[in-house]
């Protein structure tokens, strides 16, 4: 609200107007600005006595040093030349401002703009932030529009709604913003069908006369559709709506979900990102980038930039405390844009996000016939607070609704799960080798475990033999035949209980090759005896029973 901000901004505005006057002459037209400039000119000399109170005075003074009087030049030299609007060269085409390092005045950066409009707006914004940073939040909220001021009517899903359904939050540049259905009081409203009749319909009061002429040059309102726990980046992705028109915004809802690691490099909650989330909302890439920049700003410039929330223990930059901040900010911003700060590398995409695709269309509103009664009724509703009849250019009608209640949900699924991998593996093994896990283990058993054990056994035998030889050598006795005999297959250590596999059969001589000395040689008589025994068997059995 410009009118209530006047106390804070008057000096800056006067300075801006002065600069405009000196650059462009302002001879054409009899704008409102022109008139106030004239006003100021008459009291100009008084005003200059108060200059030292505010620091931004000297920029425009040095700015105009090419042109206007020496009086300002002198004052400009009193202060360090921090920043100035420079009308460089002879031509009026290029306008910009110079930012210098306060500690080292030789280091300066000159920012030029092809259009004077951009230059002045940017310059104004810088100083605006300076001033705003010194005002406490509560005061600012009071200075800005209240919900009562802004909302004339509210209608949602066929039912009347009012300012209690809106939650205020303060935006550094846009002032007070109001969020409908923010879910802050615990309930989230839902809409039962699509269509403009069932969406949110509001009539906004936009006081065009009360606009800041330098900060914002367009009239209307900005809206953004976002999730309850998403931070609305109004200046980045807001949609503008016009006055004296009915803007209908139809929405299509899309929800996307990506798979996090190892499928893609995204983050679920942002907890794994080494950047502190300064916004009290759920993680998004935008939030991360802004937080990262703010952190870098606090680290290198010693104060926080005004457009973003404050990190713990820091305070907003203002000219009195941090004379160097503008130069620092611009340097840092340049680095940020060139991706030298590393923010873009640190910050990752969020894995899930919601998106509302908006279709905006505008109709004439109010129609000439209904204009009369409607303006009267609305003026009455607005009450005695403003004693003027509303004009239709002060009003904007906004309808936000779902076109249909279909939701598009895009989600990623892994193409190969463990099940599929295993079954592919099995399929290939089965197809080419008719083999299974069991047969793989068999192969492992035979080629590694069994053959290893055989090799080990041989080594062991050799070592034992060598040991025995050495012992015998030491004792001086010649090796005995019996000892040698027992080392072979008689040795109980070496008896292979396992059935010989193909490989072991190849490696090992069978024990049948040298028969055990204990077993008696086959005898014919025993064979005969056996036959006789089988004949007698039933008798012995009977005897045994008795």
């Amino acid at each position: 609200r410009y009118s209530s901000m006047k106390d804070y901004l008057s000096e800056l505005d006067k300075e801006t107007k002065k600069a405009l006057e000196t650059f462009y002459g302002f001879s054409e037209g009899k704008s409102k600005v022109r008139r106030s400039v004239d006003e100021w000119n008459s009291t100009g000399s008084d005003f200059f006595k108060h200059i030292p109170l505010l620091k931004f005075e000297d920029f425009s003074k040095t700015a105009t040093d090419l042109r206007s009087g020496q009086k300002r030049k002198i004052e400009g030299s009193v202060f360090h030349k921090d920043s100035s609007i420079v009308n460089s060269g002879d031509s009026n085409d290029i306008i910009g401002f110079q930012l210098c390092d306060a500690n080292n005045s030789s280091e300066c950066a000159l920012y030029t703009f092809s259009s004077g409009v951009n230059a002045i707006q940017e310059w104004y914004k810088l100083h605006y932030m300076n001033i705003m940073a010194q005002i406490p939040l509560e005061t600012k909220e009071k200075l800005s529009y209240s919900a009562d001021d802004l909302l004339l009517t509210c209608f949602f899903d066929g039912l009347s709604c009012d300012k209690r359904h809106f939650t205020r939050f303060h935006h550094p540049l846009h002032g007070n913003c109001y969020t409908f259905n923010s879910g802050e009081n615990g309930t989230i409203l839902s809409t039962s069908t699509g269509g403009s009749e069932y969406g949110l319909q509001v009539v906004l009061y936009i006081d065009e006369a009360d606009y800041n002429p330098f900060l914002v040059t367009s009239t209307g309102a900005k809206i953004i559709v976002h999730d309850q726990n998403e931070y609305p980046f109004i200046e980045d992705i807001g949609t503008e709506i016009e006055t004296a028109a009915a803007t209908s915004i139809g929405m299509h809802f899309t929800r996307s979900r990506k798979l996090s690691k190892p499928y893609s490099d995204c983050t679920e909650t942002g907890a794994d990102i080494p950047v502190e989330n300064l916004y009290n909302k759920s993680y998004s890439l935008q939030i991360c980038l802004h937080s990262c920049f703010q952190k870098a700003m606090v680290d290198s410039c010693g104060c926080a930039q005004y457009a973003q929330p404050l990190p713990a223990g820091a305070e907003y930059c203002n000219y009195k405390k941090n004379p160097n901040w503008m130069y620092c900010y611009y340097r840092l911003h340049e680095k940020f844009v060139k991706e030298q700060l590393g923010c873009q590398q640190i910050c990752k995409d969020a894995c899930s996000f919601k998106e509302w695709a908006l279709t905006t269309s505008i109709a004439q509103w109010p129609s000439t016939v209904s204009e009369d009664w409607m303006l009267r009724v609305l003026s009455w509703d607005k009450g005695q607070k403003i004693n003027k009849k509303l004009n239709k250019t002060d009003l904007a009608n906004l309808m936000v609704f779902y076109k249909d209640l279909n939701e598009r949900f895009i989600s990623e699924n892994p193409a190969n799960t463990l099940v599929i991998l295993l079954s592919n593996f099995g399929g290939q093994l089965g197809l080419w080798m008719s083999c299974s896990v069991v047969c793989v283990i068999e192969i492992v058993e035979v080629f590694f475990i069994d053959s290893l054990s055989i090799v080990m056994r041989r080594q062991w035998q050799k070592a034992k033999k060598w040991w025995n030889d050495r012992k015998r050598d030491r004792s001086g006795k010649p090796p005995q035949a019996g000892d040698l005999e027992r080392q072979g297959h008689d040795n109980p250590v070496c008896i292979d209980e396992d059935l010989p596999t193909f490989n072991t059969a190849l490696h090992l001589p069978l024990p049948q090759d040298n028969p055990l000395p204990r077993t008696p040689p086959p005898n014919y008589s025993t064979l005969r005896l056996e036959t006789a025994f089988t004949e007698q068997l039933p008798d012995t059995l009977e005897v045994g029973q008795h």
Binding site: G195, A246, W365, V369, V438
Partner: protein, 560 residues
């Protein structure tokens, strides 16, 4: 006896035999290890464990696979098609509901009532001329006899007057008030106030309530072709693909709020409307009248034209997807088509033509989700209040709500409103989606039209040709061009992620991975099971027999 049995069926002597035989001869890998490494206990144990483990793994994998299969996942395949196709149906409405002559008397009364209410509530004397625009009324020729009947019977009710109520729920500091009207049930009891925080909303809703009652006396089917209003009054120029539109190409209907509407190419069968090329020159270009003088200023407060792009044979829900066109502006709308094909069946509920939905559809056009959801709003209202809401089509044999006949319907309807919301919400579970859906993505650009220089001759030309008779400088014409951005359309098709074939093949793969076996091995396992059972029975039988014989042999020996 035993020999005889063995002759018939060769059978194992013991469980051990059977098991060994199974292990040696089965096609399952690894079982042979149980037998041949018999002498090494450790190895046997190891192999038993291994077999059990892979058995477990197999069934775990099977469980995962089946749970995935029974979730019926789908894969979306996106493809770009390009083929010649028809231009979509275009519906335009002039946002200017007109007065039927039949009810114009009542409407004038209603306007007067509204005026009185506004004066009463706000103390403003709205200029009387505002509400008495003596413009032409729409006359329905053939129906005057019916009209005379209803004209005499209908009377505007004074029971529902707008009132101002102090809002007590608010903080005492500020003096807030709300405006509303009172609704009572048939006996006059159980009254409640329908209130609005803003007077504008209250007046609009109140007016709409009365308007519906008045309109309910109109016959259900208005033969639109008999109307005096012609398409030429609204569409000054129509060109498609560089050629003038054919005069018979449109369908006319009247929407209670959006006024008279025309649908171009509603059937989509005329080859004239084939889209041959993308781009502005080959699209549909219309010059429209966008009258700013509403005939009923309390019903619709916006001026302009509403355009909707939709499928052929689809009911246009203008309040859902309508696109506003401003007067004095040229709007260029580019469209792009998306198509969605759903599988249906187990993969998600969807319906081909809405025949299998268990509610009768009131719109005799192709099925969309909106149609059904509108019906679900209408049905309870109809069954409970006994009459149909004017905005929706009527069920057969029903009539529109009218407080002369059903004095309590307003009470009933607004009471129902909150419950209706739940009905809508139920719809997401109940209503099947259409299996085949076309969506049109719309993007628009605007420019001022006509330009200051061309304004004069354009107006001259229109005046000459179409009887355009506006002399004022105000913009009351609009131009709109609708064209295909590209003739390719994106089609999104669902296909099953796991078909039966795929399921079987991955089951086979798992089997072969863990056991190196096939279905036949499973049969072998079953055989083993059956054999075990049979053997058990046999042994039981044998034991029983042997006990018997033992008893027999024992009894004679005991006395000796």
């Amino acid at each position: 006896e035993e020999e005889k049995k063995e002759g018939l069926i060769e059978f194992y002597d013991s469980f051990k035999d059977m098991f060994e035989f199974f292990c040696k001869n089965t096609t399952i890998h690894g079982t042979i290890r149980l037998v041949c490494s018999d002498s090494n206990r450790m190895k046997t144990a190891f192999w038993t464990l291994l077999l059990l483990a892979s058995f477990g793994m197999l069934y775990w994998q099977f469980a995962l696979m089946f749970s995935q299969y029974w979730a019926y996942p789908v894969v979306l395949t996106m493809s770009i098609h390009s083929e010649p196709k028809m231009f979509p149906a275009i519906t335009i409405c002039n946002l200017d509901p007109y007065r039927f002559e039949l009810v114009s008397e009542h409407l004038v009364q209603l306007d007067q009532m509204a005026e009185e209410s506004i004066t009463f509530l706000y103390g403003i004397n709205t200029s009387a001329s505002l509400f008495h625009m003596n413009e032409k009324n729409i006359h329905v020729k053939d129906l005057s006899s019916i009209g005379n009947l209803s004209r005499s019977s209908f009377k505007l009710s004074q029971n529902f007057s707008l009132l101002r109520m102090p809002d007590h729920s608010n903080r005492s500091g500020k003096k807030d008030s709300s405006v509303g009207f009172r609704l009572c049930n048939a006996t006059g009891g159980n009254c409640f106030y329908k209130t609005y925080s803003s007077g504008m909303d209250a007046i609009l809703e109140w007016y709409r309530f009365h308007y519906m009652n008045i309109m309910s006396q109109l016959p259900v089917i208005i033969n639109v072709s008999d109307h005096e209003e012609q398409i030429e009054d609204m569409v000054y120029s129509c060109q498609y693909d560089g050629e003038p539109c054919r005069p018979s190409d449109y369908v006319h209907f009247h929407h209670p709020v959006f006024g008279s509407c025309y649908t171009f190419n509603s059937k989509g069968t005329d080859p004239f409307w084939t889209a041959t090329k993308p781009g502005v020159p080959y699209g549909l270009s219309l010059i429209l009248r966008a009258e700013q003088k509403d005939h009923i200023p309390l019903l619709s407060t916006v001026a302009g034209v509403k355009v909707m792009i939709h499928n052929h044979n689809q009911t246009p829900f203008l309040e859902h997807e309508g696109f506003d066109i401003r007067p004095g502006i040229e709007t260029t709308i580019s469209i792009q088509q998306d198509e969605v094909n759903r599988l249906g069946g187990n993969y998600g509920k969807c319906t081909m033509d809405g025949n299998d939905v268990n509610v009768k559809l009131l719109y005799n056009n192709s099925y969309t989700l909106q149609v059904l959801s509108e019906w679900l709003a209408e049905a309870p209202a109809y069954s409970e209040c006994g009459c149909g809401y004017y905005y929706y089509p009527l069920p057969p044999g029903a009539e529109y709500c009218n407080y002369n006949k059903q004095p309590a319907w307003g009470h009933c309807f607004y009471q129902l409103y909150n419950r209706l919301r739940n009905h809508h919400l139920n719809c997401f579970d109940q209503c099947p989606k259409p299996c085949r859906e076309s969506l049109y993505k719309v993007s628009a650009g605007t420019a001022k039209w006509p330009s200051a220089k061309s304004q004069d001759w354009i107006r001259q030309a229109l005046r000459h040709q179409n009887g355009y008779n506006s002399t004022s400088n105000r913009n009351d014409i609009a131009k709109v061009t609708i064209f295909y951005q590209q003739l390719n359309y994106q089609s999104v098709n669902e296909s099953p992620l796991l078909s039966e074939n795929l399921l079987l093949s991955s089951m086979g793969s798992q089997w072969s991975l863990w056991f190196g076996s096939s279905v036949l091995s499973v049969v072998e396992m079953f055989e083993l099971l059956i054999d075990t059972l049979v053997l058990c029975l046999l042994f039981c039988y044998q034991r029983f027999r042997s006990k018997k014989t033992l008893k027999v042999t024992h009894t004679p020996t005991v006395p000796s």
